[in-house]
Symmetry: C2
Subunit: 238 residues, 2 copies
DNA sequence: TCAAAAGTGTTCCAATTACACCCATGG
DNA sequence: CCATGGGTGTAATTGGAACACTTTTGA
């Protein structure tokens, strides 16, 4: 009768969330990567770079776990956050280095870990690095120059980038990555970098001014060595 | 140091997959629902209707788990299958009836269960009901007349329908629901039912003949009491 | 000959693309 | 006065939407 519920067959599994935190510094699309916590000097394991993430805690929803990771890491709350895919390959945490790390930092290093991927969009100006319980130092890395990451995080990241591109085209979420006040050129540049192609300036402006809810401010760029640009703000719809 | 990895905080979690199996009977869009297995006559618990699903087993990927559930239920292999969302609300299996059922059929009824949602598209003609280890009888139910389901399966199902609509528009996966040979009217009717709106016949044909890879067969409909329609087949791209 | 669905083109409008010059500022 | 990026409009093309009648079959 009971088929897959004996512990022999359906063994315990851990569930985590991993967050792909995107940021934009006016030139490059970046993602926030952490150094994995370092084992107490004893071993001299090579530190791996990884996506921020953590195991789910008791009675915490997936979204809440992602918010918690994000808040611990960046102090930010209320930022754009979206579940995009769940990764459950049984071998995804079985790499040699990954196992080494898990043996130090997890109670059940042998357990498989299913991870739910989230991506979030933050305005880099708002970001303040912060010591977090699950990570060493964090840094922004160009999404087009990602090193080799722990676990299957390279795959997770590239899935996130695909999801971000689709979402950008479908729902125009780009402004989440910009400061409160921005110019249309900044916005266009952001789109060009995410989509990885040039856009026509006049057509781009026509489109965003039609489709987006942009309010021109009574304020212009200052201190630039060319004609100062009009600043805009998104009217966030309720 | 160790933060969320002590068993007190990150308690054991079960992971399951749930499959939303869509079918089309030439009139209605249907979904395959099961009766939950019945506790041995002893208790007379009311049988709930649910989506087919099962706990992940050892060393099985998420995709493989979904394929297994599908194969056990329908004997079908190689059919269209897509992960669409993961549901992890801590309360999602805490309903009264749900707990009753879990206490009979699961070794750890108190555990939270995270479930990864898949949907699949099957040609109803190919489907042969089959006794499965995780379910009682299965039946096809009109997606627009879904009863109250176990757990959070109503929410999972409506998320699946949204995902199906998007996918249909983006990737034209409609033919997966049709028999090998079909008419353009059947295809149009399918689109109309999934999207829940009328489509213009001439425009629809123009579009699918442009965009899809349809091969007209040297064969027509037979035995219909009107002009027999051209039959088509999809050229599946390699 | 009738009922039922199959099949077929054209026109109109909206959206998308391509494209080049003048402007305001700071140095 | 020069370098720099800001800002603007139009024409051509493409794609989507609306729309009605003739054809073939079986009963």
């Amino acid at each position: 009768m009971k088929v897959n519920n004996n512990d022999a067959e359906s063994s315990a599994v851990d569930v985590s969330v991993d967050c792909v935190v995107f940021g934009f510094d006016d030139r490059k699309l970046k993602v926030l990567l952490i150094e994995q916590r370092n084992p107490d000097r004893s071993t001299r394991m090579k530190v791996q770079t990884a996506l921020p993430g953590d195991l789910l805690i008791k009675d915490e929803s997936l979204d809440d776990a992602a918010k918690r990771v994000l808040k611990e890491l960046t102090s930010l709350e209320g930022i754009y956050l979206k579940q995009f895919f769940t990764f459950g390959d049984p071998a995804r945490v079985k790499g040699l280095k990954d196992q080494e790390w898990l043996r130090v930092f997890r109670n059940h290093p042998e357990r498989r870990v299913i991870t739910v991927g989230y991506y979030s969009l933050v305005n880099m100006e708002d970001y303040k690095p912060r010591p977090s319980s699950f990570a060493g130092k964090a840094r922004w890395v160009d999404v087009y120059e990602i090193p080799s990451l722990a676990f299957d995080h390279n795959a997770i990241l590239s899935t996130a980038i695909d999801a971000l591109r689709h979402e950008l085209l479908a729902d125009n979420i780009g402004f989440e990555l910009l400061p409160e006040k921005f110019t249309l050129s900044q916005l266009q540049h952001l789109y060009e970098i995410i989509l990885d192609r040039k856009l026509d300036k006049r057509n781009f402006r026509k489109n965003v001014l039609k489709n987006e809810h942009l309010t021109p401010l009574a304020e212009k760029q200052k201190g630039v060595l060319h004609k100062p640009a009009q600043l805009y703000q998104f009217k966030r719809k309720k």
